[in-house]
Symmetry: C2
Subunit: 321 residues, 2 copies
């Protein structure tokens, strides 16, 4: 058994902040593995967080997420910003190297020490994205990333989840794939701050852009003072349109800052994170199925018909608090 003390957390954090991708990688691995040292890591990082602009990037498979990410990284690097990329695959239990096949387009940036790229699996984590990803973001933030792109494949609820993690959410579409109706169904119209129609050299790009604009105009976002999500056409694999997207990201940042929306979003995010950790602690104190905890005892009475589930829950809460 490896002793916990082997991990020198302050030294690791120091190295990560000095720009060591290896140290940064080790810290994120601690997050992924829910290592016992994680508490110390988070305590050390706390004063160093809160400065990065976190940008969520989501879209169905095939819309060109990797090329778009690469294009944005190029643009952000040109401005001299340190960039982190966290690719979260909500369907894969694998991590680290598993997504590297998809990451081939990002290989332009692997020799650039101003860019840190990491894949992360969220399946299998308690609470999925909600649990591990915010902590990985804290690590990258504390290590000095100015901007972090969180890339997620849009499957099921993950678009909505990624929106909960980001300051700004970009929804990627491609002609003929992302119909407006599909977008509305998946709830992405509500969560997108910026819509990008990639592969704009293909037939139907204008129609897709028009449809999304139309759907947005039907929503309640047209009220004065609200953010009206722009719809931008790009051809990521020819590096076209990236500057417009980055300008939109900047504008959204300014709008959020002026309106107090940035603080509001971050408060919601931190609240969910702390709440989830606190509830997990309380849950473990209840004792679950095993042994003679207060929960098991109350459940015994429910099974005998002496308590109803509400009264049983009351008793659990009473004993606990």
């Amino acid at each position: 058994m490896r002793a916990r003390r082997e991990i020198d957390v302050p030294a690791l954090v120091e190295k990560a902040r000095a720009g060591s991708p290896r140290a940064l990688g080790r810290l994120i691995t601690l997050v992924e593995n829910a290592d016992p040292a994680l508490r110390e890591v988070m305590a050390t990082l706390a004063p160093l967080t809160g400065s990065a602009h976190i940008i969520g990037l989501t879209g169905s498979p095939g819309v060109g997420k990797s090329t778009s990410t690469s294009m944005l990284v190029t643009g952000l690097r040109r401005r001299g910003l340190r960039v982190g990329v966290l690719a979260v695959d909500p369907s894969s239990p694998f991590s680290g190297g598993a997504l590297l096949g998809d990451r081939i387009r990002l290989s332009d940036h692997v020799l650039d020490d101003g860019v840190y790229i990491r894949s992360m699996a969220s399946r299998g984590h308690l609470g999925g994205l909600a649990w591990a990803t915010p902590q990985a973001l804290r690590v990258m933030e504390a290590a000095g990333c100015d901007v972090i792109l969180v890339e997620t494949v849009g499957v099921g609820q993950s678009e909505v989840e990624v929106a909960g993690l980001a300051d700004t959410t970009i929804v990627l579409l491609a002609p003929g794939m992302g119909d407006g109706v599909q977008a509305a169904k998946a709830g992405i119209l509500e969560v997108g701050d910026i819509f990008v129609v990639n592969k704009a050299d293909r037939d139907g790009a204008d129609a897709t852009a028009r449809e999304i604009r139309h759907m947005i105009s039907l929503g309640d976002r047209t009220e004065p003072g609200l953010w009206r999500p722009p719809v931008i056409k790009t051809i990521a694999d020819q590096n076209q349109g990236g500057d417009e997207v980055i300008e939109a990201i900047d504008k959204h940042w300014v709008w959020m800052s002026e309106r107090g929306e940035l603080t509001r979003r971050r408060r919601v995010r931190a609240t969910r994170e702390v709440e989830a950790i606190a509830l997990a602690q309380l849950r473990s104190r209840m004792g679950g199925l095993s042994g003679d905890g207060v929960l098991a005892e109350a459940v015994g009475e429910v099974l005998e018909g002496r308590l109803d589930p509400y009264a049983a829950a009351d008793r659990v809460v009473e004993v606990l608090t």
Copy 2:
């Protein structure tokens, strides 16, 4: 505003037990609406629950769930049992009449006062199936149903959820639809206690049955003493095979009772139910985003970089307990 006292819970429960489908329906509506009277309802019902055999029935759209349910109801009624049918649609926010189109096959039973049929939407309920369905089952159980069939469309995780609610889970397949690989992917191989290949007069029924048997044989269920799920062929719309399914249900019940598995499953179920209610109470005590609760205060310090999420959660738990 309607006063809460308008609902005479003991009288309603009494009427439901005497066989009034109207009273039973009103009680389930209280569950669906999370009515304030629900606590009183559950307290009144507690001593009357625990006697019904709860059977989950799941399968993809088109496998013949309604006809199969109807066939089982016919067989169970022939034995003189009171039968409840709860059709849960996890994808629909509608309820009550919404599923009646699908329920047309059950119309053979609408004039039989030994059968109570109810549709229920689970979407929109806090915790979905996990929250409202167990309470609706308690109501039907207390009202005197000997057997309750819980029918759910197999989409996403609902098969696994329905298995968590039932004593016995039946997985319905149809030739050419339910490939073994699909079944394995969806996790239904693990949760099915009985597999039924319906539409057995169609081509490929034997192949589907063989495939499922093969998949089961690859699992760890072949160990001595474990329940080996039978694979039964039926033609529900010709009322063929129902008796074999009911015999398998009986055998599974006997096996579970002898092995202590029935108690174990019910304990798991009740534990989840009580835990969910208790956690919801604790969550609301934390105060959430609004106002000056302990959570909001701790989150404020996280945002300022003075606390990390774990330390913030510790404080929340400490204040609460």
